[in-house]
Amino acid sequence: MSEINLDAALVIFFEEARDMLAQIEQCVLELEQKPNDVEELNALFRCAHTIKGSAGLFGLTAVVGFTHHVETLLDELRNGAMQLDLALSSLLFGCRDHIAVLLELARTGGELDPADREREQSLLGQLRAAVSAGDRAPEGNPDPADAGRGAPMQAEAVAGRDGPGDWQILAQFRADTFRDGFDPLSVIAYLSTVARVDRVVPLLPAGLSFEACDPETCHLGFDIRVGGEASQATLESAFELVREDCELTIRRDEPVPPAVPADDGLPTADDRLGDLLVRQGNLTRDVLGDALRAQTVSQAPLGEILVSANVASRSVVEAALSTQSKLREARVEERSMVRIPAEKLDQLINLVGELVIAGAGVHSLAQTHKVPALIKSTMKVNSLVEEVRNGALSMRMVQIGETFSRFRRVVRDVCGDLGKQVELELLGTESELDKSVVDKIVDPLMHIVRNALDHGIERPEERIAAGKPPAGRLVMSAYHDSGQVVIQITDDGRGLARERIMAKAIERGIVAPGAALADKEILALIFAPGFSTAESVTSLSGRGVGMDVVKRNIESLRGSVELQSEPGKGTTVEIRLPLTLAIIDGFLVRVGRSHLVLPLDVVAECINTNALQAPPEGTCTAVMPLRGTVLPVIFLRHLFNLRGPQGARQSIVVVRSGGRQAGIVVDALAGEYQTVIKPLGRMFRQLKGISGSTILGSGEVALILDIAALVALAADGDDRAGSDAGHPVAA
């Protein structure tokens, strides 16, 4: 392998290891709820095993060495020598975190600092103590079900049951099995905990010579005879860990002598049925030759010919067909996923964005020159570009559940530190949003969740005294609404104390003493820089550098954050984020000489009117009747001081955001428009009501409207003029 390829492989390893670490965390959390869940335990073991094995390939000895001890503990758990309890799960979390540190150091080329080294020694000591306690446990526990555990394979193998079992398992491990960190002996040891292993025969290819043997390449197969009550599903499950590294055949033990493996080993996905049966020892080459000759005459399926000729039983043929099918499915599955670096996707999306702009330019020229055939062609091209755009964007969409899941560990650890009980509920985890948004939302969410746990949810005794259940409830939910994703974090804690917020705000000079603020404004004070109501600074939150940064980060994503809180009942933090930061379906409008874009998803309807009066001087909002309701409207011309001629008729674009409606008054509607979002320069970021910009086909710049801000402005009245309500206008 060339150096470049090795570097690329290492990058992939670190990415995969990160996924594995996340999975380890989820597995341990699941096992805390269901300690006997074999599937979770297997998955947990597999993750540690994979990290160790892959790290070994790259010579990351520190990772291999430490993970080996973790794996030993997991093996004890898997073998039933011990059971997961809170102390063990905490130890596993600690080990998981330390592996993350070791991987990061391996990635950056750093070394453990003294504190981490001390922590490592402490963890290793705990691991050894736990394993040796597990090894001793069966002696004090005469449960017959535990017989044979710990060293199950040798116990079964020397039991002297030489007679044939009820199942024959042929397992041929792939060449990279050892390098992938898998040990077939561990699998067989595990098998003997779920079934009665009568005999294990290691198989080596006859042509493998000592001189030609690469000892790190796996050439081994095993012929395993199993008796007793085990089902095929049970036997298959024992090999789940190595499913991708093992070609497995499980069949009822037939009175056929154990197969002598062919020189080329056991079945492969390329094998046809006849080859498979020969490799399994159920057929000789001569018999297969006869059957194939018969097939050229009868054209019947080979399996049928073999069964009708009584040279193979139907069950053997069916088992071989099943094996063949599984091997081929596994190969297809291996090929069905491609891992692509995020920056390559970003590059693709940037190029698609440029393509959209260029396409719009060509279309604009075609319209200017009024060439019908060219207009038709550019429309077709633009339609295809739109499909490419959607495809490219969809590649970067990820479910938010993965992000939410991280908080299960946070809740567990924080509650442990604080002596609180909290049940976390995750809703809408399948909601998708752009990966670039997801990456940037983790820190704000972390702060909000920690705030809820630290300050919101009460201790059990306080909750009981308040007539609440001792365990608090924290709900993280996500859903799509009007082209945005809405994330809510709701707790059933004590809620925000308005009087304390006000007192602190006055103390910090954020508001003047005696100022009369609306409820919403008081709650919004916690987003002020440096604000904190915590009685003491804790390691979790309350440093007063949190919520203002949270708000700023969310707004930098073109999002918004709002609070709702009821004293004694709890608090909800609602974050609204755009689904993507790259390209949107827009709705182009014109005010005077300026073009503006609204996200198409927020547009509910458009109303043309010539009876709209301008708002009074110095204001930009008003209200108008709309089918029996009052619709707040906002005049963009007045809000942004836009110049240029105004026609006799105006249009009102009715938009929805956050469950509220508002009308946006514009001069003309230009229709749908693929909008490539360009960030605003630093100078313009504080502009209220504008979230970005785009380039039109003509080369002109159009501003993208921040609908949430405009709806809030329209609904709350014109704050430019300091009034509390809009002015009524006729429609």
Partner: protein, 120 residues
């Protein structure tokens, strides 16, 4: 655990035919991390046996061995089979009870001599 490299046997130092047996020794682990190094050492022993033509056994001191995996087993099997084809035997000496039983269960063909160390 010490570093994987630290577990390799001291075969090189101890290898070489002594009378009618060649000797080498294993460390605490016979696993994927050690097999490449050990293969080279066993290869040297095998070549010595081939060269002298009078050794009937390769004696491997397993007194320190605590653990082996499938890679270790594979190496032992390949070596034993090769020796068998030369009319020699692979003798594993000083195995603890647990490992001896485990290997016995995995060697139905009787390729290994599983002897106590004293038997060497």
């Amino acid at each position: 655990m010490t570093s994987p490299a630290g577990h390799a046997g001291q075969a090189a130092a101890m290898a070489g035919p002594t009378g009618r047996a060649a000797h080498c020794a294993l460390g605490e682990e016979l696993m994927i991390y050690q097999v490449a190094e050990l293969w080279a050492q066993l290869d040297a022993c095998v070549r010595d046996i081939e060269a002298t033509g009078d050794a009937c056994a390769l004696c491997v001191d397993c007194t320190a061995l605590r653990e082996f995996d499938a890679a270790g087993l594979q190496l032992l099997l390949v070596t034993a089979r090769h020796l068998d084809s030369m009319g020699a035997r692979l003798s594993l000496l000083g195995l603890n009870d647990k490992l001896r039983e485990q290997l016995r269960g995995l060697d139905p063909g009787g390729l290994f001599d599983l002897q106590a160390l004293e038997a060497a």
